[in-house]
Amino acid sequence: MILAAILFIPVCAGIVAWLSERASAKLPRWVSLAALAVDLPLVVALWRAHPNQGSGGDGWIAEFQAPWLPLFGSSFHLGADGISLLMVGLTAFLGCMASASSWTEITKRTGFFHLCLCWTLAGVLGVFLALDLFLFYFAWEFMLVPMYFLIALWGHEDRFRAAVKFVIFTQLSGLALLASILGLYFVHSRATGVSTFSYIALLRTPMAPSAGLLLSLGFLAAFLVKLPAVPFHTWLPDAHTQAPTAGSVILAGLMLKTGAYGLFRFSIPLFPGAAVLARPLAILGVVGILYGALLAFAQKDVKRLVAYTSVSHMGFVLLGLFAGNQLAFQGALIQILSHGMSTGALFILAGALQERLHTRDLSRMGGLWAVVPRLGGASMFFALASLGLPGMGTFVGEFMVVLGAYRASVPLAVIASLGFVLSTVYSLSLMEQAFFGENRRGWKVPDLSIREMGVVALMIIPLLWLGLAPQAVIEKGKRAFSTASVQTAGGRGAPEAGRVTPEGGLR
């Protein structure tokens, strides 16, 4: 029941926010912020009540089931384990930040803006909570429409093109996902006679490895586009750059995570037969790390630069998920959370810069440290977090991923660790171009306001927590790994990988 509440509070808040615009243009902000701020303690309460549960194997922390499409074998089934709870918490938290950071940026159609914001978040929450594959697909597609409006209506100069590109990429890969989900549904119903979309039932679907391989391709298409993995990333720089600040925060901080979550929750445990794909996917991850970092360095547009760093950071996640051992997996989990914080914050700061300077062009900036010291300091913190300074979450995550990858494949780990060097280069180059040097243009703009300082300060806390005391998250990751079966990339170093699917099911 509490899960349904977590999901429906933003849905209702969106409608209330939309209607409240008639009373006052400022009211919708408060409504959406309040709704998300209510969600957060609910998640924390659930987390504290069940400190020891990691993943579905230990049973779910909370479940909610209601009939939805009974004839089709689909029900409104929500469930949370430790990992999905972490993701839900991240969603509520970044949602608050996104809402608070659009306080002054959005002045037109505030009601509709906050409707879209809340519904995008509701879609993301649905993805993290769904235990029914059809419901999952519904939520997966549902995120798209309000996000399209966020980009297309409140975005920057080239917003329509970016929004359409985003929708077409995700929808096309989403339909491939649908075809695969339905394929799995029919394989299951032919084998067992039961037509159901229930995740728990489908986990035990007996199927030929070749069929599993084919079906897993549809899942991979959707998740790799969202993640994004390198050949499928071209929508990302456009969408992230053109979106308003709140849209960029949600895109980078949450939507990319739905791809990672999908890989972990669905692709890997549903298709043990597709383990042969683990190595190529790990290689894709490494390519993403280097490619994203190199392109980030070449960008002149602040938001575009940050967008490409996402490609690089998510490469670590992909590598961690498919390296096939517990260490790398735990690293990927921490990386997901800390990337959400650091990149979300960088987008907020980039948005704050654009709001003041009306440009995102790095070559027109310079010497801003003296003008906006608080903004500069905050940017420095998150740039350092992004380059993987010890003490922050990103360091722990990326280090553990590379350590784990080393056990799977030495060359991959060595190449991936080059990413550390490159991330230092682009992060410092960003700082150098924007904040140091000479203020040639004579910028004179106000510094961060108290509200913005508050947002930034709130985002520093979890990043430090992940960097200094990541044990709680690592613990969750350990349990999740041991129950949800991660296949090996190299075949080495994964004796601890238990399989959910019974051995008989593999034949």
Partner: protein, 480 residues
């Protein structure tokens, strides 16, 4: 003499034009004519309820009333109701006498009902001709303008040609099997000598005739011109009632004459479906005229429907019916918005006419957005679930080529639907003169608002929690 009670809906609808003609002899009143029309359609809808305990029942050789017929009749009648209401406001502001319009509308509805209930070539052909002949004058109703006349002539010629194909096909099949009843044809076809060349020829001719009516590739050439030229409510009628009734008939015919045993026929349908999805969506990309865009999109939608049509198993009828219901609602809604925005000067059919609509008429823009999203198959709308069911039926019958085409084509389709949606939200330029409600012009009535509101609610309801509709559709079955 068979019991005639099951024919009640047909009789009620047929009584409408008679009453209207009597009324017109006394006095010309738009309002009275409209009221009779509404009464006839509502009466027919009500009489479907009377039939409910009687199904399945056969009337003579010609008609069969089962759950399938009742559902489709209800769908067609409800759409007729929507079109009638939209037409009332549309005709009120225009030149010429509006009364005969309803006469023709009821005639077309009668044709559609006959088509849906037929189980015999004779009733099939009769229904089709009643429908088509009523549609020619409906399309050309605003006869002082050039484009409706052009559209009607185009429709007349293609419909005439397709009827010829159809008749020839029927003749061949009758000649070979000696019967015109669908179930009997299905039974006797199995007994025909292998290698019999005439049978496939007859079948293909039949499919060509039906293909023309559905506007699927390669028989689609009339669709954009007719949609563009016809008055907006008539275009809505052609897109929904006319095509939907023919599709219902196609489904019945190829259930009695099993499709799965005939790989050659399946191949023909595969080619038609794939071509419709690709051509419809690709050509829609280049349209700047909303009515033409909707025409090309309807070509693609019938391609999607054919995917479900070709599948086998329990999901087949279900997926087709759900998809048609969702398509009906979204198409009526989209054309409804076009109707409401059209002024005396002409229909509001350029994309430019819609720029900044969200600023001027937020509710209308919201409804239009939702209808387009449903046609595009995005969530919260009936179109999303409908497309999921179609993909399900295709995957369930391992029709990989059509399903993959559907996936690709839907991606392309997003581009042009979102292009229109983006226009709605763009900063308004100088609005065109012909857009109603900008410089005075007719403002739409409460009736129109209610109809659009109902369509809006249905679209969301069927897209979010459709358990009721699903239960209803799963009850119907061909012959049950």
């Amino acid at each position: 003499m068979p019991p005639l009670l099951p024919l009640l809906p047909l009789m009620v609808i047929a009584a409408g034009p008679v009453l209207i003609m009597i009324g017109l002899a006394v006095t010309r009143s738009h309002r009275l004519t409209f009221s009779i029309t509404l009464a006839a359609i509502l009466g027919a809808l009500g009489s479907l309820g009377v039939l409910l305990p009687l199904v399945p029942t056969q009337v003579g050789l010609l008609f069969l009333f089962d759950g399938f017929v009742l559902f489709y009749s209800g769908l067609v009648l409800a759409s007729g109701l929507v079109v009638a209401v939209l037409s009332y406001d549309y005709l009120k502001g225009r030149e010429g006498a509006p009364e005969e319009f309803y006469l023709l509308l009821l005639g077309a509805l009668l044709g559609a009902l006959v088509l849906i209930a037929s189980r015999h070539f004779v009733s099939f052909f009769l229904g089709l001709e009643i429908l088509s002949i009523s549609l020619y004058p409906l399309i050309a109703y605003l006869r002082d303008r050039p484009s409706p006349i052009e559209a009607a002539v185009k429709y007349l010629i293609t419909a005439g040609a397709s009827s010829a194909f159809l008749l020839f096909g029927m003749a061949i099949i009758y000649g070979l099997t000696g019967t015109m009843e669908f179930p009997e044809i299905g039974r006797r076809m199995g007994g025909l000598v292998q290698g019999q060349l005439l049978m496939p020829v007859g079948m293909v001719l039949l499919i060509i005739g039906i293909g023309f009516k559905l506007g699927v590739v390669p028989f689609h050439l009339w669709t954009p011109d007719v949609y563009e030229g016809a008055p907006a409510p008539v275009a809505a009628f052609v897109a929904t009632v006319s095509k939907g009734a023919v599709f219902a008939l196609l489904l019945r015919y190829f259930t009695e004459v099993s499709l799965r045993d005939r790989p050659a026929l399946l191949a023909v349908f595969t080619i038609v479906a794939v071509a419709s999805m690709c051509v419809g969506n690709l050509l829609a990309l280049f349209q700047n005229n909303i009515k033409r865009l909707l025409a090309y999109s309807s070509i693609a939608h019938f391609g999607y429907l054919l995917v479900a049509f070709m599948s086998a198993g329990a999901l087949r009828v279900f997926a087709v019916t759900y998809y048609l219901a969702a398509y009906f609602v979204a198409t009526l809604g989209a054309f409804g918005v076009v109707t409401i925005l059209s002024s005396r000067e002409g229909d509001a059919d350029e994309i430019g006419d819609y720029e900044g609509l969200f600023e001027r008429r937020p509710w209308l823009a919201g409804v239009f957005t939702l209808m387009l999203l449903s046609l595009a198959g995005l969530p919260l709308t009936a179109g999303f679930l409908a497309k999921a069911f179609v993909v399900a039926s295709g995957v369930g019958s391992t029709l990989w080529l059509p399903v993959l085409t559907l996936v690709g084509a839907s991606g392309v389709a997003l581009f042009y639907y979102l292009r229109v949606v983006a226009a709605l939200f763009r900063e308004p330029g100088a609005p065109a003169k012909r857009v109603a409600g900008v410089f005075g012009g007719p403002v739409f009535s409460l009736r129109g608002k209610i109809v659009m509101g109902v369509l809006f609610v249905l679209l969301i309801w069927w897209g979010v929690y459709p358990a009721g509709l699903m239960a209803l559709i799963s009850l119907i079955g061909i012959g049950r």
